[in-house]
């Protein structure tokens, strides 16, 4: 790797972010290209770490000296006794995530050159974008919890700032509660921030609890991942005080918030109010992956520790919770995605759904680890799906951005017939949608299959080892996953069809008449799209290399030969389930949307049952309304009550009473000021008498 | 009853009588004069109480500068002022003459005292005090002389300060007058 690569791959974007206002003073073009260059430079440093993972040795390319083997840690210790340090960990998982963040970040920055062209607030945009990339890479490459949490917070901040980026817009807002669209955007940003905050607080409590346990029990308090894996005393202490299970659940609270799982998933659809590049970067490719990264990081620690201490039922609880929440969220979001009206909202729901898949895979990995003692399969499946999802989701968002840029509307039903106007975008988006749905031979298929396969293996192994409950759970999870796959195909086809295949809507016709033609995106925008589409197509072929990559540094994992992987994936029983899901989802979608044999509107009107379901899904299962009324409304009422009764009733009254006492006292005292010197003398004499009495009797 | 007793009681009686007179007399000038007499009697009492320095200073200040001040102020407070310019100048002359006299008296007395006691002390001899002072008192007076000699600068400074303040006060009294004339 290039020297200091792990430090620089997050340091360069951060420095670039800080330098952006300076560059802006020089000139607009300098600022734009400079910002993009910084992110590309950071990505190059990140790329340079990849070969080292393959060889297993970290080598400095400039000087040729060997620095260490994987996992390689480079740290600066601040306070040794408290275990506070700052460091980076070169490890398959962190390098992989850093490259995804850096690579997609750089690509989207290039895309943003075209998309955000002419926006007056571009300096702020570049600043937060670069800062975000730096923060995300910091998050994944950190070697201890504290630093990871710092990166976590940085991405939360940048996400808030970027979602509410257009807070000055003056158009009327789409929601009746707010006056202008600008206010609505700001509200979306705040909602994202506050909702993820709830998860952040849970995460922080869990981190500090673990730290406190290491403080009490271990030789040295630590936040470090590697050390937590080696020293196991802290887990014993946590079990002894009964805190292990709550801590683990709270630790998962962070991913629930950041990765938009149930019950904290409500912020992601509103977060689509930001620019599309923001949605692509933050909500498709990186920030929402941070939660999955955390689960992946923590899982080996738990497995190692619990192997030693034999607390495997804690591992079991954790994995079960992760898997169930993941599965339920996937199902939930897919149902909402089927009926959404806006392009970006469909993509947002599909993001939530796919991350649910990833959580499901990780949870299964944990359960398999509980059952059979190794977690490799589920772990690998979740991570592989992460990579392919990042690619095709970014592709989908960017093409949606191109469509939005061209038609300037967010509602899908106002588009239509764009196939003839935007052929390149159509092809790219089509590839992306197929990959999302998991159609072979695109990368989405391979990764989804791996997840199904892992679930199947879990169920089988569970029965083999005699854990009937887990076996049943495994089957249920598999079933939910398959149904969700069907729904995924359904809404992907729906989206593509409505945007591109349907005839032109009134809105498009008006625009054409007015002379604002719907045109293809400029090259700076469709080149990244093509790149991502290509990666999505051939990504499946990377599976074997990926496996070698991921498990470098783990002992006792058998690396399968490449051909074996492909055959194993295709020839397992789950392939039939996948095909069944395709049929279940694809055939209605084809009829409804593609060939337009049955009109969906008429269908809904005829069948009341479907209409009820439709409105239930459309209102997002009323979860959002529940939160707004109960939690937000309740809190505001509570604050009002506190203000009225406490602030005004007690504190203000106390102030008035105090003032009244002082004033009345002084009024009474005024009467002694006669202005006559003789009376003053009499007062002096009284004082003298008092002193004499004091001397006599005191 | 010894003569000492009579003398001291008489002094105390005169003190109180003069004080009462100062308080009760209707004419302000008479009251001020009575005050001056009271201060003089007080000085004598101080001398009898074996405090010669205090006596002299009291005499100089209270029976000198302060009385002069009082009289100056009183004279400035006549109800009417036309046709009294001569009296104004007379008052000025009186006051300045009095101040000069006081300064000269102070200097002379200081020279006397310091030469009488200080020179002897500086040359290392013991004090030759009058014989009616008992021996213990002589020792004590010697100590007093020693200590006051050591801090003799403060003595001079106090006197100078008192006189300076008195002079300032008198000058302040005259300020408006000159302004009004012009």
């Amino acid at each position: 790797m290039l020297p200091l690569a792990p430090w620089l791959c997050w340091g360069i974007p951060v420095i670039g972010a800080i330098l952006t206002p300076l560059l802006a003073k020089i000139g607009h073009k300098v600022r734009d290209y400079g910002a993009v260059l910084f992110s590309i430079a950071g990505f190059i440093f990140g790329l340079s770490m990849v070969p080292d993972i393959f060889t297993g040795q970290v080598v400095n390319w400039f000087t040729g000296e060997r620095l260490g083997s994987i996992p390689y840690e480079s740290k600066v210790v601040w306070i040794y006794e408290l275990g506070i340090e700052m460091g980076v960990l070169v490890d398959p998982l962190s390098v992989f995530m850093a490259n995804i963040a850096g690579g997609l970040g750089a690509l989207i920055m290039v895309y943003a050159l075209g998309y955000m062209h002419g926006d007056p607030d571009l300096t702020r945009y570049w600043f937060f974008k670069n800062f975000f990339i730096g923060g995300m890479v910091l998050l994944v490459i950190a070697n201890n919890f504290l630093q990871m949490f710092i990166g976590w917070e940085i991405v939360g901040l940048c996400s808030y700032a970027l979602i509410g980026f257009w807070h000055k817009k003056k158009e009327p807002s789409p929601v009746p509660d707010y006056k202008t669209e600008g206010e609505y955007n700001a509200m979306c940003g705040m909602k994202a921030f506050i909702t993820t905050r709830v998860g952040d607080v849970a995460l922080l409590i869990a981190i500090l609890t673990i730290y406190a346990a290491t403080l009490r029990a271990g030789p040295r308090p630590t936040f470090n991942f590697l050390e937590l894996r080696e020293q196991v005393e802290w887990a014993r202490l946590l079990v002894a005080s009964g805190l292990l299970v709550p801590t683990i659940i709270l630790l998962f609270g962070g991913p629930v918030g950041k990765s938009a799982q149930f019950p904290l998933h409500v912020w992601l659809p509103e977060a689509m109010a930001g620019p599309t590049t923001v949605s692509a970067l933050i909500h498709a490719a990186t920030m929402v992956k941070a939660g999955v990264y955390l689960v992946a990081r923590v899982l080996p620690i738990f497995v190692e520790v619990f192997k030693v201490i034999d607390l495997t039922n804690a591992l079991y609880t954790f994995s079960l919770v992760v898997a169930c929440i993941g599965a339920f969220t996937a199902f939930l979001a897919a149902t909402m995605g089927m009926v959404a009206r806006e392009v970006k909202k469909v993509l947002a729901y599909s993001t939530i759904s796919q991350i649910g898949y990833m959580m499901l895979a990780r949870g299964r990995g944990g359960l398999i680890g509980y059952v059979a003692g190794e977690i490799a399969e589920g772990y690998y499946a979740g991570t592989f799906h992460l990579m392919s999802h990042a690619v095709f989701k970014a592709l989908l968002f960017l093409s949606a951005g191109a469509v939005l840029h061209a038609t300037e509307t967010k509602d899908m039903f106002e588009m239509g017939g764009l196939r003839q106007y935007m052929p390149i975008t159509y092809k790219c988006m089509f590839i992306g949608a197929l990959s999302l749905a998991g159609i072979p031979p695109l990368s989405g298929f391979w990764s989804k299959e791996t997840i199904f396969d892992a679930a199947w293996v879990l169920a089988e192994e569970a029965y083999q080892h005699g854990y009937a409950f887990i076996g049943v759970t495994g089957y249920i999870l598999l079933f939910i996953a398959v149904i969700t796959a069907a729904m995924t195909l359904f809404y992907s086809i729906r989206m593509i069809a409505i945007i591109f295949i349907w005839p032109e809507s009134e809105y498009i016709k008006e625009r054409e008449q007015k002379g604002e033609h719907v045109h293809e995106a400029p090259p700076v925008m469709w080149v990244p799209l093509a790149v991502l589409a290509a990666v999505s197509v051939i990504g499946g072929l990377f599976a074997p290399a990926f496996q070698v990559f991921m498990f470098k540094g783990w002992e006792g994992i058998e690396i399968h030969a490449p051909a074996e992987i492909f055959i194993k994936t295709v020839a397992s029983p789950t392939i039939f389930m996948t095909l069944g899901a395709f049929a279940l989802g694809g055939i209605p979608a084809y009829y409804f949307y593609w060939s337009r044999k049955i009109d969906p509107g008429e269908f809904l009107e005829k069948h009341g049952f479907f209409r009820t379901i439709h409105s239930f899904f459309y209102n997002r299962w009323y979860i959002n309304d529940f939160y707004t009324k109960v939690i937000v409304g309740g809190f505001i009422k509570f604050s009002n009550a506190v203000y009225k009764f406490f602030e005004q009733g007690i504190v203000d009254r106390f102030n008035y009473a105090l003032a009244w006492v002082v004033r009345s006292f002084s009024q009474a005292f005024r009467k002694t000021h006669t202005g006559d010197l003789n009376y003053n003398m009499i007062a002096v004499m009284l004082g003298v008498i008092a002193i004499l009495l004091l001397l006599l009797f005191g | 009853m010894s003569s000492e007793f009579v003398v001291e009681v008489a002094l105390i009686a005169f003190l109180i009588i003069f004080a009462l007179l100062a308080v009760e007399l209707k004419k302000l000038a008479y009251a001020v004069v009575s005050l001056g007499l009271m201060s003089t009697v007080l000085s004598v009492i101080f001398y009898v109480l074996y405090a010669p320095y205090v006596a002299v200073i009291n005499l100089l200040v209270y029976a000198g500068a302060v009385i002069v001040l009082f009289l100056a102020v009183l004279s400035l407070m006549r109800p009417s002022e036309e046709g009294r310019k001569k009296e104004k100048y007379d008052v000025i002359a009186e006051i300045s003459g009095g101040v000069l006299f006081i300064i000269i008296a102070v200097i002379l007395v200081q020279i006397l005292i310091t030469s009488y006691i200080g020179l002897q002390f500086v040359y290392g001899k013991t004090l030759n005090l009058p014989s009616f002072i008992p021996l213990q008192m002589q020792n004590i007076l010697q100590n007093v002389a020693e200590s006051t000699w050591r801090v003799r600068v403060i003595d001079v400074l106090i006197q100078a300060m008192a006189l300076f303040i008195a002079g300032l006060g008198v000058a302040a009294l005259f300020r408006r007058e000159r302004g009004e004339k012009e």
Binding site: - | L20, Y53, V61, A166, R176
Partner: protein, 102 residues
């Protein structure tokens, strides 16, 4: 020398005369005279108490000397203020100077 009590009594009587004058008299000049009587009473007290059969206390005498000087300054200032007050009010009657009334 007669007993200490005589002098202490004299000092107390002077003190009371001074207070009486301040409390009763209307004329400002009389009041300043009263202040001066008060000061003299204190001086007499000091000197009387510092003259004992065991010895003389030079410290008290020193204080008295200082106090005489300060007292002179105070009276000078009071007199100049009196003069200005007379110019302003036209009278020396304290009962008529009520500007410090509430």
């Amino acid at each position: 020398m007669i007993g200490l009590n005589w002098y202490l009594a004299a000092s107390a009587i002077l003190y009371l005369i001074g207070l009486y004058c301040l409390a009763t008299k209307r004329n400002l000049i009389k009041m300043i005279i009263g202040i001066e009587i008060l000061i003299n009473a204190a001086h007499l007290n000091f000197i009387a108490l510092s003259t004992t059969t065991a010895g003389l206390d030079p410290l008290a005498r020193t204080y008295v000397i200082v106090s005489i000087g300060v007292g002179a300054g105070v009276i000078a200032l009071a007199l100049s203020l009196t003069l200005l007050v007379y110019r302003h009010y036209g009278t020396l009657d304290v009962r008529k100077m009520r500007r410090l009334k509430w």
